[in-house]
Amino acid sequence: MAELLQFVIAGLKSGSIYALVALGFTIVYAATGAINFAQGEFYMLGGMLGVWFVSLGLPVPVAALCAVVSAAAAGALFELAAVRPIAGGDPLRIIIVTIGGSVVLRQLALHLFGPDELTLASFTPGPSIRLFGAAIERQTLWIWALTLVAVVGLVILYRRTAFGKAMRATSLRRDAARLVGIDARAMVTASFALAAGLGALAGLAVTPLTQTAFDVGAGIGVKGFSAAILGGLGNPIAAVGGGLVLGLLESLAAGYLDPIYKDAISLIVLLAVLFLRPQGLLGGSGKEKV
């Protein structure tokens, strides 16, 4: 029982991380109809920038905020300087630009931060918390709390604010959105920034547990993409569900079968969904993309 609980805790921990990265995929997909293959690199940037800001002497909360905001700015810059001029609005071209962009961002990180693994101190130091014989690291609580805040914040943005509704309107009916005065291209920039910020938040929150390096983006990109696909790519809430389910599957497979299955799970999920149900497992009608 304690063992199962431990696996579930571990699954929900990585699942939350996958959920944040998956949210980034769905947000850019809603705005452009394209997959942003550079999404994992912003996860990497979150951790790397966090480490860098801490090394400048900033307290952890301030460094974390600076890291997420700079990564979001980098996402906006990436869209303005590369995606928009090179790809225009064509989804296939956007995909190609983001693949190219991911290589550039990785090399840039290698030059700026070096090849070594880096780490951050836990946000709040202290021993793990015991729960029915299982242990929860304090940083895991931070991951859950930050994921919850991000998801609730996103729901408020999309459902309650004029800006968020303008983003939804643009993804539903681009021409109609322009006709009421929404700058549709600015909404695309905003979605890249938002996706980058969420990815960075995930990379930052997980760094005290896993360490980070310039090349962690590709791996998490596959996980986040699988989670988004599992959720149907269409719906942010389903993407969060996809992330949690993927995390749980991985953890249970690694725990009860063999640890070697852990990384295979996301690929199996990806292939299974693509073959069995191209519209995703958790996605509903898929009519509204955000």
């Binding site: 303008a166 006709l179 009421v180 005065g181």
Partner: protein
Amino acid sequence: MTNSHLLELHNVDSGYGRTQVLRDVSLHVDAGELVALIGSNGAGKSTLLKTIVGLLRASSGELNLDGNSITHMTPEKLVRRGVALVPEGRLLFGPMTVRENLELGAYSAGARRGTAVKDGLRRVFELFPVLSERASQHAETLSGGEQQMLAVARALMSSPTLLLLDEPSLGLAPRVIAEIFSALEVLRREGMTILLVEQDARLALKHADRGYVMRTGEIVLEGAASDLLTDESVRTIYLGLLKGEGSA
């Protein structure tokens, strides 16, 4: 050269990529007028409206609004200059509520959005009372007629001086069409300038001051609406439309 026209097009060419649709189109709409643009399916009426609002770029020619060039202006800028389009097919934000659609209609008001929404809602609910009953329903659950009313209302939320409508009667029952056109009459009496695109020539000309007839991307005839209604060639086109149901 008069400067008094609200909207003026001079020798406008436009189309989609390399496909040219509009050829040398010139027309004008004066403040307070209701002008009808008629022509059969595929004549280029929608292309013309999309070019006016900037969804398409004119490849040559000039467009002026109130004497100022709007030739390469984007739709999001043009709505702030007082031009609103009720697009063909309505293009509502289907999974959003009626109220959200209307609020988005006032998006261009920016910082004054709060007041714009309040005033706008009062006005469009007065014009289309059924929308206030449906305010919290998703737009996609509305009937065709209600959706068209919402499309008109959404455009009105930006307080336009020039309202462009693309086939507001399409696919609707006569009773609903009458309701929409009586709303247009109300707007007219309030001084709104309207450019109305219709396939139903008789309906459009009955309500209009002037009209233009379009065929294969060109304006082939223009004049007072009452003259066009009795014009032999317009009657032919209009009747041709009826016959064309089977032969086109």
